[in-house]
Amino acid sequence: MEPVLSVRGLRTHFVTSERTVKAVDGISYDLLPGKTLAIVGESGSGKSVHALSILGLLPTPPAKIVAGEILFRGEDLLKASPRRMREIRGNRIAMIFQEPMTSLNPVLRVGEQIAEAIILHQKKSKDEAWAKSVELLRKVGIPHPEERVRDYPHQFSGGMRQRAMIAIALSCEPDVLIADEPTTALDVTIQAQILELMKDLQRELKMGLILITHNIGVVAEMADDVVVMYAGRPVERAAVSELFHDPRHPYTRGLLASVPSIYERKERLEAVPGQPPDLSELLGGCPFAPRCADAVDRCRAEDPPQFHLAGGRMSNCWLSEDGAEERSHRFAAGEAR
């Protein structure tokens, strides 16, 4: 199957006169239709900046995409004209955000906001678009959609607002949906509803889903493939079961060990000591080395490349070099696979 979206060595930096912040530094992956790719990391790891880079939503300057390709069905979005990007954004590639309250316009009716996307991208009259809004609200599970379509966002609960956001995102049946922490602001029972809804709609529309989250449980539930990010870098990429059962990067291991689970009571959680580095003050060497229990001298001196391991996995760690049962070619980060 052809990937619907391929990101190759994407680097997004924020450049100001005082300093350069390498917010995203060399992420690569392929997203297949109907599959879910989770991007996991803690705050400041570059997950959201990577997503905004794909859609061309970052203010330039200070943001600057310094390297890489974003191939949507083979077309490099970084070379696309603003006009072409407007055709794609919200139409072929749609996005939903964490805060459903701040991402809806408070002074427009929910129905108008859904219809807006339809009128913008499809040749439909106002009445047709309104009728489709009702249909979409029904589809995302809003009760009495023909009445609720006239409501304003403040009349919706948090879960309903996120459903409305999903309705807008799906109004043009996109090929790719980017969901940035879609359930973080919601209660667990509502989170379960929204994740279920996203899975159903993904199956129906054969959509590729990029799920950005810090919740390891949500990753385990939803993802087919996972990219783990740390300090702007992808530190590990693997299929979900391999990542959880055989993590290769020390940060992934630390992350998984630090998560409490309702299934077992551990006496102590294995916390990763220290805290993430300041991205503008990265020195040489692996950015995780100061917190890494396995770090050797080389880790502090030399920046590790992305090692490609068996089964299409990637690990950005010097220690994977020796441990890899099948070490493929070493390559400079940022090159195509």
């Binding site: 509803q193 390891i216 385990a220 539930e221 998984l256 630090s258 551990k266």
Partner: protein
């Protein structure tokens, strides 16, 4: 349990409001509506529930930051709402709080040293400078704060470090009970684990009791030995932690547990999820009978009329469900609990 440190009896807190804005008709939000429980010395007791269930209001009532509409909060047998002001201040030395947001709960104009020593000034403790320095050093050490931080301000720290300062402030007075309202939910997972380990160590060393308020069952399971589940102002189930996770009795607890994602894809694949329909009803207008009945999958006619109170399911395990005991449910509950 007559030796309870904290005893909450039939506690209610109602807020007067108006429905539909400034000119709407009067209405009452029953934020906490008849809650009773006990916390023993050195116990970690959790109150778990979704947003709007009243868990934060409950915490404020325990801290005597809100006056109860009805019912009592007894700390070491004394009614917090009835003790004279002077004595309340004394009592407050023994009950401290850790807040959710370490960004807004520390005064930005004070240094860490000022933040940590202010409680002693207020309560007239550790007046001798040498003794104070010693206690302060111990406190910093216990909470994992470097001495060099003392002269710095909160904005110079990350969320995890700030939360350590928040914890140190709460422990400065050597309290017997710490009310912790979502103390780790604003933190990243790797930092969250550090703070959870710290809370656990401190409890052992300083013989603390925790009233831990949270929406996160995974965190609660790690830290707490007894749990109360709240829904719309009421406790619907209470049990020791192991029992609650293995054999939940109330349909709401069961659904809530099944909704928590588990960080293991092989468990996720074979897990059964109970999806609740709809949202939590408004506490302005709670449903008749059992408050959970509109979302319950075991709904019986009786549920619409009877308002159930907590009943013993087994010793130390209570649930408020009118269809208890419910034999057919066992198979599903077992699937949820694995």
């Amino acid at each position: 349990m007559s030796d309870a440190l904290l005893k909450v009896e039939g506690l209610k807190k109602h807020f007067a409001t108006r429905q539909g804005g400034m000119f709407g008709k009067h209405a009452t939000v029953k934020a906490v509506d008849g809650v009773s429980f006990e916390v023993a010395p050195q116990e970690s007791f959790a109150v778990v529930g979704e947003s709007g269930c009243g868990k934060t209001t409950l915490g404020k009532l325990v801290l005597a930051l809100e006056r109860p509409t009805e019912g009592r909060v007894l700390f070491e047998g004394r009614d917090m709402a009835r003790v004279p002001r002077g004595e309340l201040r004394r009592l407050r030395r023994d009950i401290q709080v850790i807040f959710q947001d370490p960004y807004s709960s520390l005064n930005p104009r004070m240094t860490v040293e000022q933040i940590l020593t202010e409680p002693w000034i207020i309560h007239g403790m550790h007046k001798d400078p040498a003794a104070r320095a010693k206690v302060l050093a111990k406190l910093l050490d216990d909470c994992g704060i470097a001495k060099t931080y003392l002269s710095r301000h909160p904005h110079e720290f990350s969320g995890g470090q700030r939360q350590r300062v928040g914890i140190a402030r709460a422990l400065a007075l050597d309290p017997k009970l710490v009310v912790a309202d979502e103390p780790v939910s604003a933190l990243d997972v790797s930092i969250q684990a550090q703070i959870l380990n710290l809370l656990k160590d401190l409890q052992r060393e300083r013989k603390l009791a925790y009233l831990f308020i949270s929406h996160d069952f995974s965190v609660v399971r790690h830290l707490c030995t007894r749990i109360a589940v709240m829904y719309l102002g009421r406790v619907v189930e209470t049990a020791d932690s192991e029992t609650l996770f293995k054999d939940p009795q109330h349909p709401y607890t069961e659904a809530l547990l099944s909704a928590v994602p588990v960080p293991d894809p092989s468990i996720e694949k074979r897990r059964k999820r109970i999806l609740l329909t709809g949202d939590v009803p408004s506490p302005l207008d709670p449903p008749s009978g059992c408050r959970f009945h509109p979302r319950c999958r075991y709904l019986k006619d009786a549920c619409r009329a009877d308002d159930p109170s907590l009943a013993e399911a087994r010793p130390g395990h209570q649930a408020a469900c009118p269809v208890l005991p419910f034999k057919d449910r066992r198979s599903d509950a077992a699937l949820v609990a694995l």
